[in-house]
C-alpha cells in the first residue's frame, strides 16, 4: 500500500515534470531508447508486457479508469515495436509510425494491484501499414480489455507515408506470416455497438 502511494505520487509528478517526477520522466525516456529482445515464440500472440495497476490509474472505487486501457494497449504495443527493432536509432533516420485508429473494448474490470498481461498479434501487414491487436488479461486468463490499432509508417520530414524499413521487416514480416495462421480474435473488425455473438 505504501509502495502504491509512492508510485502514484511519482507518476503524478512525472505528469507535471517536477522533482522526482522529472527524473522519472528522463529515466522512462531512456528506457524507450533501448530496443528490447526479439520475440522468441512467434507462433502465438506474443506476450509483450506485464504491468501492475497502480493507485494513480484507478478511480475512487479502486477500479482502473477506462482511459488507462487505451494507454496500456498502446504502450504495450510500443514495446512490441521496440522488440522488432523500432529504436531511437531508427527514429533518427526520420521514419516513424503514426497511429491512424484505435478501438478499445472494455470487457471486465481490473483493480489496483492486479497484474495485467498484454499480448500482441499482427492482424495484417502491408507495405506502409500494420494492423495490431492486443489482449489485456489477468494472470488467470480473464480478459479485461482488447485493443485494435492501425499504424501508418511515415517519413517524418516529408510528413508522408513511406514503406516500412527493411530492417524492421526482418523481424516483422515473419511474425505477420506466422500470425496469419492464427484464428482472428473475436473483437477484430467489429464496429462500435456490434454484438459479439
Amino acid at each position: 500500500m505504501r509502495d502504491d502511494c509512492l508510485v502514484a505520487v511519482m507518476q503524478g509528478l512525472k505528469q507535471v515534470g517536477f522533482g522526482a517526477g522529472e527524473t522519472l520522466a528522463a529515466y522512462e525516456k531512456k528506457l524507450f531508447s533501448g530496443a528490447t529482445e526479439a520475440p522468441v515464440n512467434i507462433d502465438a500472440p506474443i506476450e509483450v508486457q506485464r504491468r501492475r495497476i497502480t493507485a494513480d490509474w484507478a478511480d475512487y472505487n479502486g477500479h482502473t479508469n477506462d482511459s488507462r486501457y487505451m494507454q496500456l494497449s498502446s504502450e504495450a504495443l510500443d514495446v512490441f515495436f521496440r522488440s522488432i527493432g523500432f529504436s531511437n536509432d531508427y527514429l533518427a533516420t526520420g521514419r516513424s509510425f503514426y497511429t491512424l485508429e484505435s478501438h478499445v473494448r472494455y470487457i471486465n474490470e481490473s483493480k489496483v494491484g492486479d497484474e495485467i498481461v498484454v499480448t500482441a498479434q499482427v492482424i495484417l501487414l502491408d507495405e506502409k501499414k500494420v494492423h495490431l491487436h492486443s489482449v489485456m488479461s489477468q494472470t488467470d486468463g480473464t480478459v479485461v480489455a482488447t485493443g485494435e490499432h492501425i499504424y501508418l509508417h511515415v517519413d517524418t520530414k516529408l510528413k508522408k507515408a513511406c514503406p516500412i524499413g527493411a530492417e524492421l521487416l526482418l523481424l516483422l514480416a515473419p511474425i505477420a506470416k506466422a500470425h496469419a495462421n492464427l484464428p482472428k480474435p473475436e473483437g477484430v473488425g467489429r464496429f462500435v455497438g456490434q454484438s459479439v455473438k
Binding site: Q15, S67, M70, H103, H131, V188, G189, V192
Partner: protein, 175 residues
C-alpha cells in the same frame, strides 16, 4: 492540474434549446500532453475526449450527486480515428453528437477541431452502459437523465450520421 481542464456547464432544463451538435468543450494543448516532438500523444486525444464526455454528463444531469447515489455510465467501447496532429498550445474544441440511446445504453460521437484552422483532428465514437455501481450490474438510466437524452436526441436527429460512425477497422488493399 486536471480540475483546470474541467469545464462546468449547467444541467439541461426542460424547454431549453439544445445545440446540434453540442459545442461546449474548449482547451489548449498543455505540456504534459505532448511528446518530444511537441505533438499531442495518442493518449492525450482520449483525455481531451474524456473531458468532453464530462461536459455531456453534466448537461444530461449525470453529476457527482447522481454518481454518489450509486448510478454511473461505464464505457464499453471506444473507437478513435486520428486525422491530424495537434501541437503544444493549439486551441482545441470538441463537439458531441448523441447517436442513440435505449434503456441502458448510450451511443455518441465526439469530433475534435483545431479552433484556429477549423480543421478536424480526430473523432471518437463511444458506447456506454448505465450501471448500478453498488451491484456492478447494468441498470436502467434514471428518468431525469432519459428525459434530457430524449431532448438532445430530438435535436441531434436532424444531423447526418458521420461517415466514420460504425466503421470497421481494416487496412484497405489496393488490389
Amino acid at each position: 492540474m486536471t480540475e483546470a481542464l474541467r469545464q462546468q456547464v449547467n444541467a439541461w432544463q426542460v424547454g431549453e434549446k439544445i445545440n446540434a451538435p453540442l459545442d461546449v468543450y474548449r482547451c489548449k494543448v498543455i505540456q504534459e500532453w505532448v511528446d518530444y516532438n511537441d505533438h499531442m500523444t495518442e493518449a492525450a486525444y482520449l483525455t481531451v475526449f474524456g473531458w468532453a464526455s464530462d461536459v455531456l454528463f453534466q448537461f444530461i444531469g449525470v453529476d457527482d450527486g447522481y454518481r454518489s447515489a450509486g448510478s454511473s455510465f461505464y464505457t464499453v467501447e471506444t473507437h478513435i480515428i486520428y486525422e491530424r496532429e495537434a501541437a503544444l498550445n493549439d486551441s482545441l474544441k470538441v463537439t458531441t453528437q448523441i447517436l442513440d440511446f435505449d434503456a441502458k445504453r448510450l451511443h455518441f460521437n465526439h469530433e475534435m477541431f483545431n479552433v484556429a484552422t477549423s480543421q478536424r483532428l480526430s473523432t471518437c465514437e463511444q458506447m456506454l452502459v448505465h450501471v448500478d455501481s453498488t451491484a456492478a450490474k447494468a441498470s436502467a438510466i434514471k428518468p431525469s437523465v432519459s428525459l434530457a437524452l430524449e431532448a438532445v436526441l430530438a435535436s441531434h436527429r436532424s444531423l447526418p450520421t458521420p461517415p466514420e460512425v460504425g466503421r470497421i477497422m481494416k487496412i484497405k488493399r489496393k488490389n
